[in-house]
Amino acid sequence: MIETVTRPHRAHLVRWAAQRPEVLVLSADLTASCEADLFRDTYPGRFFSLGMAEQNMMGFAAGLAREGFFPYVHTFAVFITRRPFDQVAMAIGYPSLPVRLVGFLPGLTTPGGVTHQAIDDVGLMRLIPNMTVLEAGDATEVTSVLDVAQAVDGPVYIRQLRGEVPRLFPADAPMRLGRARVLAGGDDLCVVSSGICTEEALRATAALRAKGLGVRHLHVSTLKPFDDPAVLDALAGVRLGVITMENHSVIGGLGDAVAALMTKHGVGGRLRRLGLQDTYAHGAGKAYLLREYGLDAAALVRAAETLAGARLDIDDSDLAAVRMGTLTAAEKTEDL
């Protein structure tokens, strides 16, 4: 059973910022929902409520950053990347200011429906020159992502997790900028996953391996820049092809980044991109949505079967048998 950590960001942010007086938190009426409430209560002089006014908040963050502070903007990913896109691009992106945009509720992790599901945030932020894009995939990355972001000279978008977060990676193996985690080796298939999809992928790759397939598996946490030589190495020389898996539209995110790398270097053969297939989603539980939109372990098995050109006879009970533990958040009852 995988260890589950409750609200890892909440307490870590306070500890991490203790010796960093230049770190501020800006919030837009979702303070506890983004686990910034303990920071607010601990450092009230470094916390600024900007209300439901994200466009202005981005400008304030830019101004504070120009004066030497490091604003950590906390709100839902949709409200960072959609509504104030022009402000992020012009006030923060163009001058390359050290603003850290911490976006919560990535993809299908919320039952809040289409308005709250960030299915295009990675694509939108990757489009902005100077922007670094990071995504946390487990409790270890939820906490270590702050060190990675803080070391970046320029703006950073963090696709962050909240609530009950599994610990897939050892606590002493922090996220590193531009370095994928190589989780398994094998020469038949290459699976590249990010965010919460890595846990689903781990279940599927275990089942595939039990059927005799050699599956190399990488977990990616730096979505831009996308220049890790280990990823390029993994994409090359694989027999059946590559599968990407992301909690995001297949347009603009991990799948497109992998596709661009493969075509640039002429490696990797066939590519299947798992993710939202150019569609919006709707409000429902996470497990239901992952299955509906082909983002669960079973979907990865089907993609592997397509590339292998053969049925692998893996059913739900096989996947359940290798189940490594699940997110136990009571999603339907969480505050939005």
């Binding site: 450092y43 304030f60 004066e67 502070f69 001058p95 020159p129």
Partner: protein, 341 residues
Amino acid sequence: MASLPTAAVKHTSPETMPPATAPATAQAGHAATRTAGATAADVRRVADAVRRRVLDYTLQNNGGYLSQACSSAELLATLYLRVLRLGPSTAPLVPRPFAGVPGAGNPEAFTGADYNGPRDPALDRFIFSPVHYALVLYSLLIELGRLGPDGLEAFNQDGSTVELIGAEHSPGHEVTAGSLGQALSQAGGIALARRLKGERGRVWVFMSDGELQEGQTWEAFAALAHHRIGNLGVYIDANAQQCDGAMADTMTIEPLAGRLRAFGAEVHEVDGHDSDALAAPAADFGGGDRPLAVIARTDPCRGVELMRARAPRLHYLRFKSDAELQAYAALLATLDAEARA
């Protein structure tokens, strides 16, 4: 309260900063400093010269943002001569060429804020929001000796920073504000940061009235009031014009004074061509707990009566015929002769 992030803040030699003393302009024959006790007559002389220079370049380019010079010449001249506490320019008289966009890989990138003097805790900052007024600002910087007399040779030329619509690398500019309505929020962040650092200098924002149509502007005023930001003042060129024509026909923002007061600002409504009236609200501003908003009611044809025939489309002047161009050229000749007399 937050401590000063000393290591992170890049200041420009504050210890050796002299008080605000800009170099006098030998060409224009007047002192370009607030502390020199500039008067309304000084402002008028500078404002008239700015109008002439903008008209000249409008003729040379067969078009330009002339009405903006007509409405804002006294306002911007008053800010630089009588309101802003600025040090002398630390920028070259000849504008630098574009050094590439900012980014981690480009240490050569710069802003044009150094035309407004060095950063210093005691000095003011100037944030220029409606950057299609850039030619007005460049012309003013020339009259004040902050930009060389030939500074406009690079105006609207490829590879130049003296752009038609300014960005943060353009002389006198500090932020990239061309997507209108965004600069006030950035100035708010700067003002908040300066308060956190205990700096006495104030932050001044020059805005156009059309920007009050953007929702973000009202978000910003709400935030300024909520956070009791009393070191930020806004001057609004209320010329009642925008690209489509009269603001009253496009999307009214009136009653502007009442709206701004309701949002928590200290509001003054003045004749935007009266330098004394413009300067008065700024005297001793900075110690309170709410932002200042000065609505400068202005005439977009002031000094160029010919343009009135084009109302209500005054946003960008493009000559429709050679005869029209000749009429404006004749006006410039007359104005130049008057100035020499």
